[in-house]
Symmetry: C2
Subunit: 472 residues, 2 copies
């Protein structure tokens, strides 16, 4: 049994691990990067990127619903060759995965980039599959997450599909139940419905797409359920039919489908890491207790970054966590970093967005809500996308923007505007003084912000609320 | 000859005039609103709105160029029924015009909303077409602008088309020369090219879409000229062929077309206003000299708002000018207002954008440029729109963002982000600390800003440039 010694060992070469490596390298430390299973990030392999590719095809195909009114003719025979669309999706995915690898692990020697699973055998030491041990002063644990599939469903074999399998499908089934209507279920459920799959959407919760604002949730359900049925408020049960198809039951309703898409969230890859050998405290979810500003686990020389902590399973947050973990693993003094304004985007059509403080987390009686429906918005009408609702929240007294939830076309772009303003602690009064061009979707935000401005106590100085005077 | 007396007379019921009216009303002043010609705003009747409608049809039809790679089949017979597309455009336009009118002049009595042309006969007095005179303490002049057509071309009758006629066309000609490649020429030129018109684009200048940054201009020309030829650097001359078609010559090149689209800018509607009777000073363009922060002409009781001053002929600026002019016309004390961060959007595909200080107006040797090409941007690749360039400018020392020019997909949205940040006087260092989701077009901006950050002197405190520490 050989044992190697290094300064920092990073376990997991996904987004968090690669960002950690960048910081460890910059500090001039000796390190190893250890990765079990497929290299490449969750984002590029099975997440953000391939999902956006198939969503784009579905969106382009779906535009035909507007052709009659636009005067576009002779489109009725248009159809999607699903195997080709899936191939296109994989082609793009491969481009993105190659790009990640060629910018990161492809340049590392076998001594530095170790493609094996590792588990802790004692504090400070991991063992690899080949029996080799690595002793390190500090560890960054960034092993990511895996789609949740209830144990009982595993008996249904390849009729249960998760994002791990979805993008490998040569063809899509005629019918599919999508169980779990968070970001992944909604994005891919809507995409495959638009591509012609008979989709039934099911969720135990009464809300979809991570919304916590009842008005936004109501609008989202109304819009999405025009494309495929949503069965909410009941868990799903699956049984097998004589012909091998699956019967999915939720409450009083049931449907027989070819396959089930399981999009019930992802669980941290904590198993088989030997965490029990480290003497660290776990929280109720079985996740090591860590500080989200330092990424350190207790006061151990251990740092937890990325989806494994299940708190902000989003690429840019995983990147930040990797940087923080990597920096702190490579330096003696632990530095605490401020986290960015929360930002969550469901790339459904229209987008479903949460920015800053969620509606459910606002302190009662301290805030006001500005609202704008998308229906009358000029540009949305022209785009044939005039559905949705924007809700923005501000502190009643100071007028500081706190957060927003919305279901809106170009919501992804509006979300950035709001996130940046919340991070700069701007007031609604300051926002209504910014330029809004015409005709753009930002005007919907302007209307919501203006309605909010009239409700908060803090008023702009000067005779015209939306214009500063020269001496201000 | 009757003479009426009022507090404020507003000449022109377009965007600027209507906004002025709002402020005069709020101040409780007596007023008249006088409008010669068609009621309704330039924007709704012949500008922003109908142009976006036809652009949307063209964009939707143009997506077919991606169908093969996306696996969408049997689309080859698709065509646009142009009369129907034009009808759809007019339907939307009528909706927007109706909305403007029903929210404004429809509620006014004939005594207050006077649908006649007016001209000054002496300071403080205008005469209407029917001979009635109106004496007012203050005047807001907001008569807008008209497309420029060289006098010699008027002989070609309806073969010369401007935006005043374009949206009334029942059908589009087989071929068209678009003369003038600013915002209107580029937007409509590209749209009709995509709808099948054989377009030749011509401009006296060597730049298009209002760009002043040579790199952005180069990218814009390269992208747009893949859709139709651009003849730059020569003025156009038109002669008539024996068959009634028009021969358009620019430099060494010439083309025979069915119609010419004249998009050479708009001239202020100053004629026939009797300005010569007011004893006011005109600038070199023949426009009354006014203060852009108060909209006042000299120290006369006259205020100039909207496209008539030819300085910021954009809807939201016309609105601001109307508000400023209206406020000052209704109050004894003149207040100077700060103007918003400049923002100009060409809704071509990709968008062409200028925000803040234009490249050409930056003080030499005081700034740095950050650049990002759109080609490798993940989301752009997925959208099939990975063409363009983003260039952002910051003060070399302070790192304050000064401006940007770009040709980029979703440029309209990125432009708002940048305009808001410039108005808040944020530094590049602050901007790279904001959240950028993945995969979004904002990431292209992130790359440009990051390259800019590395060039400016002002650096973020703390060990990770893109993250604040908790105590900052």
């Amino acid at each position: 049994m050989t044992e190697r010694k290094t300064d920092v060992a990073i376990i997991g070469s996904g987004t968090a691990g690669l960002n950690a490596m960048g910081r460890v390298k910059r500090a001039g430390k000796d390190f190893v990067l250890i990765n079990g299973g497929e290299p490449g990030t969750t984002c590029a392999r099975v997440g953000c990127m391939p999902s956006k590719a198939i969503i784009q095809v579905a969106e382009d195909f779906h535009r035909k619903s507007l052709y009659d009114r636009e005067g576009i003719e002779n489109w009725e025979g248009m159809r999607v060759n699903i195997p080709e669309a899936m191939e296109h999706t994989r082609d793009l995915r491969d481009t993105f995965v190659d790009r990640v690898l060629s910018n990161s692990t492809d340049h590392l020697s076998e001594e530095v980039f170790i493609e094996q699973y590792a588990h802790f055998v004692e504090p400070g030491v991991v063992e690899l599959e080949d029996g080799q041990r690595i002793r390190a002063d500090k560890f960054v644990i960034a092993t990511g997450s895996t789609p949740i599939v209830p144990e009982a469903w595993k008996a249904f074999g390849d009729r249960i599909v998760t994002t791990d399998e979805f993008f490998e499908l040569e063809d899509l089934p005629a019918s599919m139940a999508v169980i779990g209507l968070g970001v992944i279920g909604l994005e891919l459920g809507q995409a495959i419905a638009r591509l012609g799959v008979n989709v039934t959407g099911i969720d135990l919760a009464e809300h979809i797409g991570g919304t916590s604002d009842p008005e936004v949730n109501k609008a989202a359900i109304e819009i999405i359920s025009k494309e495929f049925p949503l069965w909410l408020g009941h868990g799903a049960e699956i049984s097998e039919e004589a012909d091998g198809r699956l019967k999915v039951t939720a409450g009083e309703q049931s449907v027989i489908v070819d396959k089930v898409f399981a999009s019930m969230g992802r669980r941290p890859n904590l198993d088989n890491l030997g965490l029990e050998n480290l003497g660290i405290e776990l929280d109720a979810r079985g996740i090591p207790q860590y500080n989200p500003n330092t990424m350190q686990i207790g006061d151990h020389p251990l740092f937890l970054a990325g989806d494994i902590n299940a708190d902000r399973p989003i690429l840019h947050e995983a990147g930040d966590e990797g940087k923080i973990a990597g920096y702190n693993a490579a330096h003696d003094e632990i530095v605490a970093f401020r986290r960015k304004t929360p930002l969550a985007i469901v790339f459904s059509d229209p987008n479903i967005i949460s920015v800053g403080t969620r509606f459910a987390d606002l302190a009662p009686d301290t805030f006001k809500v500005g609202e704008m429906k998308i229906a009358p918005v000029g540009r949305a009408l022209i785009m044939g996308k005039n559905r949705g609702t924007i809700r923005v929240y501000a502190d009643s007294k100071s007028g500081k923007l706190l957060g927003a939830e919305m279901v809106a076309p170009r919501g992804e772009n509006l979300a950035h505007l709001l996130a940046w303003c919340i991070q700069q602690e701007l007031t609604v009064g300051e926002l209504i003084r910014t330029p809004f061009y015409h005709p753009v979707m930002e005007e919907a935000l302007q209307a919501a912000l203006t309605s909010l401005y009239h409700q908060v106590e803090a008023k702009n100085p000067g005779p015209i609320a939306e214009l500063r005077t020269l001496d201000q």
